[in-house]
């Protein structure tokens, strides 16, 4: 084992050198089908989406390419509130998930002892319920005469017209609930990796709990914090289910507009233009993050 240990302890980022042409040929052969699939059904649609966004026409008569770049100006002028809401909701939800998720991840990693795995399992338990049903369940809980409001109303703690469902709070609440585990898991992974002897060393050097946390624990958990933020921010910015099921017409996000334009109005150029704006905004953010972190950290 003595020979083996260094390799196990340090999984090298670089695979062993195998430079013979025959072996490299095998690597490309292994990559070809999967990458081909992604080229055909991820990259090509992304390009096609851009082309479609520059088409004009109607659903009945068909769309033709006219290079109508003005659509981006029109779309931004037509849906500024939705764009604003998508980004602000995503920011609020990310910060809220961080505020709730960090102490939870910390408690699991540092304090759970032998219950660690059991509690982690509880954190991912919501994933065993379909996303739509989970969100609908909040509609049950928050309904005007449901278990929560109905009870408070019947004992006179709330006026009869009090409402949570169909409000911004309900949408944000649903989003926070649905994406909390995505924040907790990466945070847990990086907190769990921290060598306890580092914390002991800080204590031995007369660091109090506060400064140990701020100067040792927090910096070491940054990769998890950033990964968790991405895993929360990106899907929330593109979400439309919570706004649709728990919100009202004044809580619609970009996702709702895309869905309506594409599937109800069959206005593919408009839907494509909005999707492109959403994706561009997010990809720029991801590249900035990736540069800050180093891509190996992110792509694993």
């Amino acid at each position: 084992m003595a020979v083996v240990a260094p390799t196990v302890a340090q999984p090298s980022a670089q695979p062993p050198a195998r430079r013979s042409p025959r072996v490299r040929w095998i690597a490309y052969l292994l990559l070809a089908p999967g990458l081909g699939w992604l080229f055909l059904f991820w990259l090509w649609p992304s390009i096609q989406m851009f082309i479609t966004s520059l088409q004009t026409g109607t659903y009945a008569e068909g769309y033709t390419f006219t290079g109508n770049v003005g659509i981006y100006r029109d779309v931004l002028a037509a849906y500024p509130e939705q764009l604003f809401r998508s980004l602000v909701y995503a920011l609020i939800v990310t910060v809220a998930c961080l505020a709730i998720g960090y102490p939870l991840a910390y408690a699991i990693a540092m304090r759970a002892g032998r219950w660690k795995n059991a509690i982690l399992f509880m954190v991912i338990l919501p994933f065993f319920v379909s996303y739509i049903i989970r969100t609908l369940s909040w509609k049950f809980i928050l309904a005007d005469d449901g278990i929560f409001l109905g009870t408070l109303k019947s004992i006179g703690l709330l006026p009869d017209d009090a409402q949570i469902v169909n409000t911004t709070s309900a949408v944000l609440g649903g989003l926070i609930y649905n994406f909390l585990p995505f924040m907790v898991l990466p945070l847990f992974v990086s907190l769990d990796k921290i060598d306890p002897s580092l914390l002991e060393a800080a204590g031995d050097l007369y660091s109090n709990k506060r400064s140990t946390f701020l100067r040792v624990t927090l910096p070491l958990s940054l990769p998890g914090l950033l990964a968790g933020s991405l895993l929360t921010f990106i899907p929330v910015a593109g979400d439309f289910i919570n706004a649709e099921l728990l919100g009202n017409p004044n809580t619609t996000m970009l996702g709702n507009v895309i869905q309506v334009q594409m599937l109800e109005h069959n206005d593919y150029p408009t839907g494509a233009a909005i999707s492109f704006i959403l994706m561009a905004a997010i990809l720029i953010g991801v590249f900035v993050y990736a540069k800050l972190l180093g891509t190996e950290e992110l792509t694993g």
Binding site: Q14, I119, G146, G238
Partner: protein, 285 residues
């Protein structure tokens, strides 16, 4: 590091409490974190409990919101709705095919990325990451523009294509996590003993990375069977289980949704616990 400190560190690494070890300065155990964690876990459980509970609600009319009494009738007439049965069948068939395809394609990529050095490896890593960084709605919408442009009829096939696409990256990342810590010397040993690369792969490499592949397959299955967003753009007239639930919720959520949700939840949790139990047993054995 003193012996006592080492013992504390060891016990913590082992996941045991430190109750017998002398407490270090400034590590008084507070009540705040455990209480907070408990409350958050309760918050995570709440919608699940409510889902299960309302599957037993004896409500009248369309809206299953106010609690009106206990009944088992929603469990009895579960499969009376032929649309629900079709939706479930579609979802399961799609998930099985998608799992098989995405796991094979993704595992091949993961092997190439971790076992070989080749030109474009960094770019491939980045490219694999991109679909995971794309919001689902953008993937769904962009695929729809492709299918519409080329007149591809929407339905079963287009859902399959879409699901395999978004599962591949997750499979690659999951399998890679296993292949990265992998010890190449075992493969070298097999070769030194005269095994061909093909035999080496199936007798040494594959069994070692199998847990990673199994985890990836489970993830792909879960992603596929629960997908609503991408499916809604590319399903055409085909209905999967999440699409059916969404449609049904438009006119008040029927209690059958709660019952189906409860069954899927119990089966999923049961399988996960069984998996843990088997692994424990294997470790003991």
């Amino acid at each position: 590091m003193t012996d006592v400190d080492a013992a504390v560190a060891f016990e913590r690494a082992e996941g045991r409490g430190t109750s017998n070890a002398p407490r270090r300065r400034g590590r008084k155990k507070g009540w705040f974190l455990p209480t907070f964690a408990g409350l958050v876990i309760a918050y995570l459980f709440l919608p699940i409990a409510v889902m299960i509970l309302y599957g037993f609600n004896d409500y009248a009319g369309k809206y299953n919101y106010a609690w009106q009494g206990f009944t088992l009738r929603h469990w009895g007439n579960l499969f009376d709705d032929p649309d629900l049965v079709t939706a479930l069948q579609n979802s399961i068939i799609i998930a099985v095919v998608v799992t098989a395809l995405a796991t094979i394609l993704g595992t091949m990529i993961a092997l190439a990325l971790t076992r070989y050095r080749f030109r474009g490896r960094g770019a491939t890593n980045m490219f694999i990451f991109l679909p995971m960084a794309t919001p689902e709605i953008v993937m769904g919408a962009s695929l729809l523009t492709l299918f519409v442009t080329f007149g591809v009829p929407l339905g079963f096939g287009t859902i399959l294509i879409a699901h395999v696409m978004f599962c591949i990256s997750f499979v690659v990342v999951t399998v890679k996590a296993r292949t990265q810590g992998f010890n190449a010397e075992w493969e070298e040993a097999a070769k030194d003993l005269g095994a061909t690369p093909w035999v080496t792969f199936w007798t040494v490499t594959f069994p070692l990375i199998l847990p990673g592949i199994a985890a990836a397959a489970a993830l792909a299955f879960a992603l596929s069977i629960d997908d609503y967003v991408v499916s809604t753009f590319n399903a055409g007239k085909t209905v999967t289980f999440p699409l059916w639930v969404y449609g049904a919720s438009r006119q008040g959520v029927p209690a059958t949704v709660n019952v189906m949700g409860t069954i899927i939840f119990l089966v999923g949790v049961g399988l996960a616990l069984l998996n843990v139990w088997f692994q424990r047993r294997r470790e003991v054995a």
